[in-house]
């Protein structure tokens, strides 16, 4: 069965029936010009090459809605492609569109995890917690053994527990490898705010790693 996000289908239909001013991809008379054909080809090459990265980013940010988010982002990018001045900026430009589509979806879902008091995490140290609790008494690499209990889906589940404003910068920097300055640009947020969000996000992540491990039986020696 063919699967498309409804917004993608509707937007596509609107685009086909548009009577407004044509953009670089549209022409009132029949047949695209060579310039339009070349532009379409450039968009196609860029988008196709970036699909894995866009999907990975979206998967981290909106989970199961990743495919729909990427489809929405492709349509937005297609419509705005003539605004991209430098081809070398294409991958970052596409990523920024995906990030913003995902943020909009996050806001629309309003599925914010329960707020955690930041006071409660300010002094939390996962390193000390593991050392104090000694979950694996016979281990000679306690901290590494703790991390090895987590499968990829566990890490995703822990990240999902963080509020968007901490999770998104955390994922973009530490999972997807963006520089903090790039993240500030992507999110249209002052660098100082991003750094503060990263600081709190890391603390929350450490705290939630421990809580998740305790709740899901990961603190049992020899489990994996």
């Amino acid at each position: 069965m063919e699967r498309r996000s409804s917004s993608f289908v509707i937007a596509l239909a609107e685009k086909r029936n548009t009577t407004g001013a044509p953009n670089v991809f549209q022409k009132a008379d029949a047949g695209p010009s060579p310039r339009e054909t070349a532009t379409k080809k450039r968009f196609r090459l860029l988008a196709e090459a970036q699909l894995p990265r866009l999907y990975t980013i979206a998967r981290r940010l909106v989970g199961d809605e990743a495919e729909d988010a990427v489809q929405d982002a492709l349509l937005k990018a297609y419509r705005a492609f003539d605004q991209l001045e430098h081809a070398s900026a294409g991958p970052a430009w596409l990523a920024s569109i995906v990030v913003n589509v995902c943020r909009d979806r996050g806001r629309a879902r309003a599925r914010a995890p329960a707020e955690v008091s930041l006071d409660a995490i300010t002094d939390f140290s996962l390193y000390r917690k593991i050392a104090d609790e000694e979950p694996f008494p016979y281990s000679d690499s306690l901290h590494l053994d703790f991390l090895e209990q987590f499968e990829a889906e566990d890490v995703r589940a822990v990240l999902e527990r963080l509020p968007d404003r901490y999770r998104i910068p955390l994922v973009l920097v530490y999972v997807d490898g963006f520089a903090t300055k790039e993240v500030a640009r992507l999110l249209d947020t002052p660098l100082g705010t991003v750094l503060a969000q990263l600081h709190r996000g890391r603390k929350l992540f450490e705290r939630q790693l421990w809580l998740y491990a305790a709740e899901n039986g990961l603190l049992v020696e020899g489990r994996r």
């Binding site: 063919e2 699967r3 498309r4 993608f8 596509l12 685009k15 086909r16 991809f25 549209q26 379409k40 968009f43 196609r44 988008a47 196709e48 699909l51 894995p52 999907y55 990975t56 998967r59 981290r60 495919e67 990427v70 489809q71 492709l74 349509l75 297609y78 002094d123 140290s125 996962l126 390193y127 000390r128 901290h143 590494l144 991390l147 987590f150 990829a152 890490v155 995703r156 955390l170 920097v173 530490y174 999972v175 997807d176 490898g177 903090t180 750094l195 990263l198 600081h199 890391r202 992540f205 450490e206």
Partner: protein, 77 residues
């Protein structure tokens, strides 16, 4: 000399290379004499790698096929 709490507070920013030079120097001085904070620093580095490793998510073939089909539709407009 900064305290252990101050040192731990700055570790990730140190690893991210976003600390001001003076804070960086103070932290490095502290790490030079504090074994516990060195352990914290090593663990912070492990956690960063741990998060980066969790990125290994591939684009499933069926999703790729549908996204390519969407691009085909855009090409046809």
């Amino acid at each position: 000399m900064i305290t252990c709490a101050e040192a731990v507070e700055r570790l990730w920013a140190y690893l991210d290379d976003t600390l001001a030079p003076a804070d960086r120097a103070a932290l490095e001085k502290h790490l030079g004499i504090c074994r516990v904070c060195c352990g914290e620093a090593e663990f912070a580095q492990e956690l960063r790698s741990f998060l980066a490793r969790s990125a290994g998510e591939e684009l499933p073939e069926d999703v790729r096929t549908r996204l390519i089909a969407s691009l085909d539709e855009l090409d046809a407009t």
